[in-house]
């Protein structure tokens, strides 16, 4: 499974189990965060987490004389969540925390030799809604 698929599997779990799924929050399992009529889906559909496609770069970590080179793969995945800024859900802090911790699903068990696994988010308030843009960055060998 790809890194994006693994993150989505984790986010698909219930809030109690480290995901985002609850009666108030959901995960969009099929669609990418595309724009409908100029507006991103995650703005139209508040409290639905959208996960973008992954970006990858393969970088040569070591060069050897026998061309048995070692490469590292840098992968970035973004996820989006929008909330009503006037009425933040009580589960919001837990969902945010779970989304940050979802990076931990990328490990040797899921088939990745992880050198770096980081996550963070930025928030932007526009009109009466707040959008959280999460970024997961991984360096795997």
């Amino acid at each position: 499974m790809s890194i994006r698929s693994n993150i989505m599997s984790k986010l698909a779990e219930t809030v109690a189990n480290g995901g985002v799924t609850s009666t108030d929050y959901a995960l969009e399992r099929n669609e990418l965060p595309w724009n409908a009529s100029g507006e991103p889906l995650y703005v139209k559909n508040m409290r639905v987490v959208y996960v973008g496609d992954e970006e990858e770069a393969k970088v040569q970590l070591y060069r050897t004389l026998d061309q048995g080179d070692v490469f590292q793969t840098d992968t970035t995945v973004q996820a989006f969540l929008t909330e009503d800024a006037k009425n933040i859900n009580a589960l919001n802090p837990t969902v945010i925390e779970n989304m940050l911790n979802a990076k931990s699903v990328i490990n040797t068990t899921t088939g990745f030799n992880v050198q770096v696994a980081e996550s963070g988010y930025e928030q932007v308030i526009e009109n009466d809604y707040i959008t959280y843009t999460f970024e997961y960055t991984f360096t795997t060998i």
């Binding site: 050897t64 004389l65 026998d66």
Partner: protein, 161 residues
């Protein structure tokens, strides 16, 4: 016409170890090729003693014995470092691995191929003790890396395959 020896194909600069000179030569049957070598250096400097004389403003020099060695750095391969999972019984250096061969101070035959293992390709050869192993691991490095030094016993020679 002069031409540099290009090593980018991945088959030119090759360090091979064995229990006989024939085994250790480039492409030798049963030879242990050290994989994932990042760099290799052939050191063949003669010892020099400098001295001053009263009637010259420049120092004088005379040579002493050569101190030869082969040095390099490599990424560690399990079987190369710790020995073959199933010993072949032919090349005891490969069977034991670099670490055990170093700690037991076993003298090995070696070659450093300069141009590969095709007929007519040049290589440097000799006998040596394995030293200088200092495996290092860190999260930044991501893999085990170690220097290696072959402390040459006697003279280095050059031959063609």
């Amino acid at each position: 016409m002069a031409a540099v020896i290009n090593v980018t194909a991945g088959s030119q600069a090759v360090l091979t170890l064995g229990t006989t000179a024939t085994m250790a030569k480039p492409g030798g049957t049963g030879g242990m090729i050290i994989p994932f070598v990042q760099d290799v250096t052939v050191n063949a400097a003669p010892g020099i003693v400098r001295y001053s004389v009263l009637d010259s403003s420049s120092s004088q020099a005379f040579t002493t014995v050569n101190e030869n060695s082969i040095s390099g750095n490599m990424l560690l391969d399990e079987e190369t470092f710790f020995g073959l999972a199933t010993a072949g019984g032919v090349n005891t250096v490969a069977d034991a691995g670099l670490f055990a061969t170093s700690t037991t101070k076993t003298k090995v035959f070696f070659s450093v191929a300069f141009e590969g293992s095709d007929s007519g390709d040049y290589y440097v050869h000799g006998q040596a003790f394995i030293g200088g192993l200092a495996p290092t691991a860190s999260m930044d490095a991501a893999v085990w890396i170690s220097p290696i030094e072959l402390i040459v016993d006697g003279e280095l020679g050059s031959l063609t395959v």
